[in-house]
Amino acid sequence: MANLKTSEKKSKAQSMGLHTEVLTGKTQQKFFNPDEAENFYYFGTYDVDFNKRTEIDVKNMDCREANKKIDELMKDGYGTIVIKNPQGKHSLGVGILNKLNLIFEGSLGYFGCGSMDGPIVRINGRVGWSCAENMMAGKVVIEKNAGSCFGAAIRGGDLICKGSVGARTGIDQKGGTIIIGGDAGAFTGFMMQRGRIIILGDVGINLGDSMYDGTIFVGGKIGSFGSDAVEAELTDSDQDWLKRKLKVAEIGENFDVSKMTKVVAGKKLWNYDALEPTEKKGAI
């Protein structure tokens, strides 16, 4: 953990009393000189042109070859890439930290589009377990169904499945929005910490089990509430947000959001706000 010490010269924010420490230690180490910013290179980012489009057939490639090919095409400035014949292969489209229109003409296996930060992805098929796990930003739209652990630990972005999803959707979710057009399985929102989940259909047992924070909206029947998940009042502001989000997601645009159930953490098990003093949040 970084050391805390009192700053000698106060910034405006410090003068206002917002924080009084500066952080030192390994996590604060500077890895490049700001005076040489032109030489700074953020790994995995390229200047791409969305109008520059290409297709690749990955039928006879393994996931490493396919992902490397996507990286090479981005490096060459392609901003729209169509992947043909993914045929359920695992780990396709992972670790992309760039603007990109990525289109999969078929289905993905496990961990598709994991750890990505920025792309807009459309999958014209189904996805297996842990789609978009750890996504930081961007948008992923799946036209068919998805497996379990959909959107596990995402931190941001929009993850949309037009069909139904398996169990533990949004497990450990830390931000972003997950939207499900169909039904969702058991333990949806398990241990979620931030962010929102919208399910237009029914949801299985133990919804929101052990959730720390965040919000889940359900349009259909709820199998059962999980430990410490409680129903909350659906406000006008919630409804406005839901309508806007469903419209942007091109899913359930005419859905009657006023009949949705809102589920939040009862905060009897965990309460971030009570556990974490402000200065500790700053250090994290």
């Binding site: 014949n85 045929q87 359920g88 292969k89 695992h90 078929g106 289905s107 296996g109 496990y110 098929g125 189904r126 297996g128 377990w129 068919k144 169904n145 998805a146 497996g147 379990s148 069909g163 139904s164 999803v165 398996g166 169990a167 533990r168 039904d183 399985g185 058991a186 333990f187 299985g204 047992i205």
Partner: protein, 313 residues
């Protein structure tokens, strides 16, 4: 982590040996300590086919003790004499490997008594007994086992199989899946997961006269279902009861001579992807298994927690 796969052709037959080999080979990254096939072939339904072993594969990676082939010969002789005593007539005999045999038998009496007698020979285990079922299991991945037993030409209606990463018991044939639903002919089971009340259930079932051949927790499912059916439950009823009676995480398939079923535990902790059409159902731990036989774009889904499904041929 293990991989399971299964398929059923409804109203038709196909080269199920070849198809299942492709599905299981696609799952070999989930485990290749051993691979097993339960194939439901096209037969005239007159005679029983008994697949049995008189010893273990002691090749590299095996956890079995090496035995001389002459021991296998001795065991085979005793089995042959017992068959004669039981009134079973051997129509055809194939010794595929020194330790693995296939007999076609005419027999019309109690299968439990039959099995108990044959398996009283030390080192002998009936892998399957049925009029269309044949269980073939051995060490190695799907391709290795398929080639070793020439399975790619087997024509039938349905099949289930298992690619095993040994975690709960040894690397040997007796712990490999599928498990025969002793003493019922033509019943087989494959499982992916861990059962946490194995010993409690095993003690209860053994006290009821059921037999266990391994210490593999997955064998419990076959014995559990067999005991339910022995008491009059249908396959589907037994499977539904198993969701409560079996504790742990599991997805399993069970097949009979004319049906194929799947069950998923109430936590849905183990994966399963399913494709269903009017003439074919194919399912596996990963979509990539289904893609090995259906490369075109298809509609697949994950069954939900606590789901049980059964399809007829």
């Amino acid at each position: 982590m293990c991989g399971i796969a299964g398929l059923i052709h409804r109203g038709n037959t196909s080269n199920v040996g070849f198809e299942l080999q492709g599905m299981l080979q696609a799952l070999k990254h989930r485990g290749e300590d051993s691979t097993g096939y339960a194939l439901y072939g096209k037969t005239d339904g007159q005679n029983f086919i008994m697949r049995f072993k008189v010893g273990e594969n002691v090749a590299e990676g095996s956890s079995s003790v090496k035995e001389d082939v002459s021991v296998y010969d001795e065991r085979k002789k005793i089995v042959d004499s017992y068959l004669s005593e039981l009134g079973a007539k051997v129509i055809k005999e194939d010794r595929i490997l020194p330790y693995s045999l296939r007999y076609e038998i005419q027999y019309d009496k109690d299968l439990m008594e039959f099995s108990q007698k044959i398996e009283s020979v030390v080192g002998v285990e009936i892998l399957s007994m049925g009029k269309s079922l044949e269980v073939i299991k051995d060490l190695g991945n799907a391709e290795v086992v398929c080639n070793r037993y020439n399975l790619d030409k087997v024509v039938g209606t349905h099949a289930i199989g298992h690619a095993r990463m040994a975690t709960e018991s040894g690397v040997d044939i007796k712990s490999a899946h599928p498990f025969w639903g002793y003493p019922f002919s033509d019943v087989s089971v494959v499982h992916n997961g861990q059962l946490t009340n194995y010993w409690n259930n095993r003690r209860v079932l053994e006290n009821k006269g059921m037999r266990f051949m391994s210490e593999c927790d997955s064998e419990l499912i076959a014995v559990y279902l067999a005991e339910k059916m022995r008491n009059g439950a249908t396959l589907e009823e037994g499977m539904k009861e198993s969701l409560v009676g079996l504790d742990g995480v599991f997805t399993y398939f069970v097949a009979t001579k004319d049906s194929l079923g799947m069950a998923k535990d109430t936590m849905a902790a183990k994966p399963l992807v399913l494709y269903e059409s009017d003439d074919l159902v194919a399912m596996g731990s990963e979509e990539i298994a289904i893609r090995s036989i259906l490369p075109q774009e298809i509609e697949t889904y994950d069954p939900f927690d606590g789901e049980v499904k059964v399809w007829q041929i």
